[in-house]
Symmetry: C2
Subunit: 304 residues, 2 copies
């Protein structure tokens, strides 16, 4: 790998993720407490999925991208709102993705999926509501015009040319074998868009120029690719206990994955290349980008 000239050792990624996750949890608690006029069971269903844990990778990327771009205290506040909005969008997509009409999953993050606990109708509505809360939160909390840029960025990357578009391609892909470039396009939308968007949101919150924004975009794009390849590898090599969700589903469904197309070793090599490219993009940021580096390495080296 070319992209390592360590100025200081990168921080411990898991500790960093845990710290951000704890902050986010408190943030959610006060953000959701405002909805006193809402039906309690709806808020319960939202909280069930939102507090289920997960790595909170995207919020950490937003916060650390903002810090890496030299964001000050008020920029970090905007990034925090962005982190919460992003996790709301990500969680809504998981809740809808798990529905019987979609992936029909019973288990998510080691617990029964939302619709298994609250029923399908509530899971659909809870997902819908998480999206409205995400945009309301940004409009309410972040000063204009930064709020508008963040909302546009998040909406565009969640929509038909982003995450939701990727879910449609994924659905279509179950009926035929995709070529490598089709698979890459699918993942650029399905998981790549929101991961790249996370890095960009942090940079936007920090008020950076176009050059810096494009660095963070490059970092996010390569990291998104690495993330997906490793996800595919883990689906094939891990147990449900390790992953907190069903595994080997991809193969069972005849889904298109990197291991299917490139083999396990080829996939690992491709993930390492993507990591190197991601680190290259942020090398010029120096020490401030160490936490981002730590997160990137964690993404590729994780075992669950």
């Amino acid at each position: 790998m070319s992209a390592t000239s360590p100025l200081s050792p990168p921080p411990d990624a898991e500790a960093l993720l845990t710290r951000h996750s704890t902050t986010l949890h408190s943030y959610f608690q006060s953000a959701l407490a405002r909805y006193t006029a809402a039906p309690p069971r709806l808020m319960e269903s939202i909280a069930y999925s939102l507090y289920a844990g997960g790595k909170r990778l995207r919020p950490a990327l937003i916060l650390e991208s903002c810090r890496a771009c030299g964001g000050d205290a008020s920029a970090m506040e905007a990034a925090m709102a962005g982190a919460a909005a992003m996790e709301l969008i990500h969680t809504f997509s998981l809740v809808h993705d798990d529905l019987p009409a979609m992936d029909n999953d019973d288990l998510r993050r080691g617990r029964p999926t939302n619709h298994k606990v609250y029923g399908e109708a509530m899971a659909i509505l809870a997902g819908d509501a998480m999206m409205t809360i995400a945009f309301e939160l940004l409009a309410e909390t972040v000063p204009s015009p930064t709020s508008v840029s963040m909302i546009r960025e998040l909406a565009a990357n969640s929509g038909p040319c982003g995450m939701i578009g990727g879910q449609v391609l994924d659905m279509d892909g179950e009926t035929r074998r995709l070529k490598l470039d089709e698979l890459q396009h699918l993942h650029r939308l399905k998981t790549g868009a929101l991961l790249t968007c996370s890095c960009r949101l942090g940079a936007i919150a920090a008020g950076v120029d176009q050059q810096m924004l494009s660095r963070l975009s490059d970092f996010g794009r390569h990291l998104g690719l690495a993330f997906q390849i490793v996800d595919d590898i883990l689906d094939e090599t891990s147990t449900p206990e390790q992953m907190g969700k069903a595994t080997k589903k991809d193969a069972a469904k005849g889904k298109n994955t990197y291991p299917v197309l490139l083999g396990l070793e080829g996939s690992q090599a491709e993930a390492n290349n993507a990591l190197a490219a991601a680190l290259d993009a942020i090398t010029p940021l120096g020490d401030r980008a160490r936490p981002l580096e730590a997160i990137a390495r964690f993404v590729v080296e994780r075992t669950h």
Copy 2:
């Protein structure tokens, strides 16, 4: 009714709704044309529901509220974006509401429902995407800080304390007989929130002060109530051919409706009272509010 001191005859509401609907249709066509990188079938599914027609009551309320508040050309452009965003949110809510896990409807606006044509998974994703497009459109098109106010207004009224919250209450209400005040609360959220929000969005686009905004809120709130009562009456007295959707569903499901609680005549009287209160609120606006008056009368006097 107290609220009629006609300065000029109100315009023909149906002609007015048709004219706004035609403008909106063209607006949608160019707005959706931007999503060239999206999966074509997703955009097709979105267009299917978006172009299915309907009265386009909410967009007309936004545009005419803006005009009634003296909005200039650029205000009317912001209102147009608001109209499109509102109709996207309204249509997404219908698509999700029709799903088998929710109301399980086969017919909407005289055509098969979205999931009957595109399948459940696509209908869920198309609904989700309509919401992201709505917020992207506002952030992209309307100048800041008006865009932020409009996004906050739309998100808050679509969410847990607005339309989605109302759908949850409606779902819960199917299991027991509601009292009148509970039914009113349900409708204030389920249909009232977005109708009131429409009037407010037009006023916000026009850049009005708090007093004017509160006038338009009052108009919208009373109109929302009138709308729902008439909807309940029509569900009981109309044929599916007239309504373009299944009728008498409410009674069949043992749903709580105004006719059940107040009788048909009592319900009609209540609708007339609400109309009078709505018109009272906008009387001070004079001639400029004639189109709003026409729409309000149409809502109460319509037969489908």
